[in-house]
């Protein structure tokens, strides 16, 4: 129970940080997506079932708190949580490369899913501009933070709350 509450707290803190404190380091109003990184690391360490659930919850939190279309982030994070959750048992979570590579793949996947959704919703977008603003910049931010987020996830996963 304590562990579950800790995970909720971590996701909430991550969201609060990425929407307030980390705005200090934003570039062109683009910032790191800590919820995405948490979802990826959580899925990689807990499997597809919990990964999908974490993606669903994290995405829903973003959707509700940011006021965007309901399901916009929920969908993408859920798919990503599911996809990365399938990798459990095939990757070694202690490898330094794992969070770095997975953050790049997850950011690209998140971008593709969101672009498809936006196009399906009937919006027109400038693909070149969006590649720069919505893929390249987040990619760099996520790459920088991925290792630390993964470390936090691994630490919390292995932490025992038994008194």
């Amino acid at each position: 129970m304590k562990k579950n509450l800790s995970w909720i707290a971590v996701f909430l803190i991550a969201y609060v940080l990425q929407t307030s404190f980390l705005n200090l380091f934003s570039f062109k109003n683009v910032n790191v997506d800590l919820i995405l990184l948490l979802t990826v690391s959580y899925a990689l360490t807990h499997g597809y079932r919990l990964g999908t659930f974490a993606g669903f919850c994290g995405g829903l939190l973003q959707d509700i708190a940011s006021g965007t279309f309901l399901g916009f982030n929920t969908l993408s994070k859920m798919i990503i949580g599911f996809g990365f959750g399938l990798m459990i048992g095939r990757v070694y979570e202690g490898k330094i490369l794992l969070p770095l590579v997975s953050s790049v793949v997850a950011t690209a996947a998140n971008y593709v899913i969101l672009i498809i959704v936006v196009l399906l919703l009937g919006y027109r977008i400038n693909l070149i501009q969006s590649l720069y603003n919505l893929l390249l910049i987040p990619l760099i931010y996520n790459l920088v933070f991925s290792y630390f987020v993964h470390k936090v996830v691994c630490w919390l996963k292995n932490k025992s709350f038994d008194s």
């Binding site: 929407t19 307030s20 404190f21 807990h46 499997g47 079932r49 708190a65 859920m78 459990i88 919703l121």
Partner: protein, 303 residues
């Protein structure tokens, strides 16, 4: 190692959920779906934390900005200091050039006004630190046609004579040196008293004129020029002004303390008289006329 449990029919649940979300999203985009109170509740719950975190961020931002400003100010300060140093150096160089220009102009004017002399200009490159007011080294030597005993002058007046000559430099004994004796006379037309100008060995004055008879007409303010006697110094080069007249120890002769025309402490550029010609009678008459009219030492020679 942890592994996934078999999916089984969970995959169908996932697909259904995804489809549900997809539909919700589309309806939400068309403003047909809204969850009352949810947004407000979540935002209300998160807002205080976000506010605190933002404040923390802003505080950190201010500190980072202040540090950035400090760093940029430091860089700017360094740059400005370097600029100031460069400008000072340039200014110093300019001033030096201007001073040199003035001195060389003076020498050039002197050269033009003293047609009877062939002059070679030179710069003082060294002074003997022990007896620096007596000897100087100049950057001209035998390669430039300089020979021993050639007189050295400035536009202000007589400096001394060359005593040693080397390939590209020479040593000049100044008239303040006690070993140097210059035949001199009072420029005033109704006096023309002759004597010998020498350096003062006890340095009470820079130079003095001796061998003056008691009855000689010499008084403070008189201008002393070379007499041309002795064969080293041509006639008519300005030496200095009589400062004081006194009796010598024996009582038979007088001496005159002379203030040199040349400031030996500021000696930088000089001219060596490599050849001097006798003035034509017309020029001599003109010069004497000027001297009688009170013509002063504009170019350092008697006019």
């Amino acid at each position: 190692m942890q592994t996934n449990e078999p999916m089984g029919k969970k995959i169908w649940i996932l697909i259904v959920v995804l489809l549900g979300i997809f539909c919700t999203m589309f309806f939400s985009a068309k403003d047909r779906v809204s969850i009352p109170l949810t947004n407000r509740t979540v935002i209300t719950l998160l807002a205080p934390f976000q506010s605190f975190s933002s404040a923390l961020g802003n505080k950190s931002g201010s500190i980072i900005n202040a540090l950035n400003e400090l760093m940029s100010m430091y860089q700017e300060n360094k740059q400005l200091k370097a600029e100031v140093t460069t400008l000072r150096e340039e200014n110093l160089h300019d001033n030096e050039l201007e001073a040199e220009n003035q001195r060389l102009k003076g020498l050039l004017n002197y050269k033009e006004s003293t047609k009877q002399f062939d002059l070679v200009t030179a710069s003082v490159i060294a002074r003997d630190s022990a007896t620096w007011i007596n000897n100087v080294v100049i950057n001209r030597g035998s390669n430039d046609g300089i020979k021993k005993d050639m007189p050295v002058v400035t536009p202000d007046g007589l400096v001394g004579a060359v005593i040693d000559v080397y390939g590209s430099y020479s040593v000049v004994a100044l008239i303040t040196d006690p070993r140097v004796a210059v035949g001199a006379l009072v420029q005033r037309s109704d006096s023309r008293v002759a004597g010998i100008v020498k350096g003062d060995i006890d340095k009470q004055v820079d130079i003095h004129m001796e061998n003056i008879s008691r009855a000689a007409d010499i008084q403070p303010g008189d201008q002393i020029i070379t007499s041309g006697l002795g064969g080293i110094y041509p006639k008519g080069i300005f030496i200095g002004t009589v400062d004081e007249v006194g009796n010598e120890a024996g009582g038979l002769l007088k001496y005159a303390a002379i203030k040199p025309a040349v400031d030996f402490q500021k000696l930088e550029d000089v001219a060596i008289i490599v050849n001097s010609r006798e003035l034509s009678p017309e020029v001599l008459t003109r010069q004497m006329q000027k001297a009688a009219d009170g013509g002063s030492r504009e170019t350092g020679t008697a006019k």
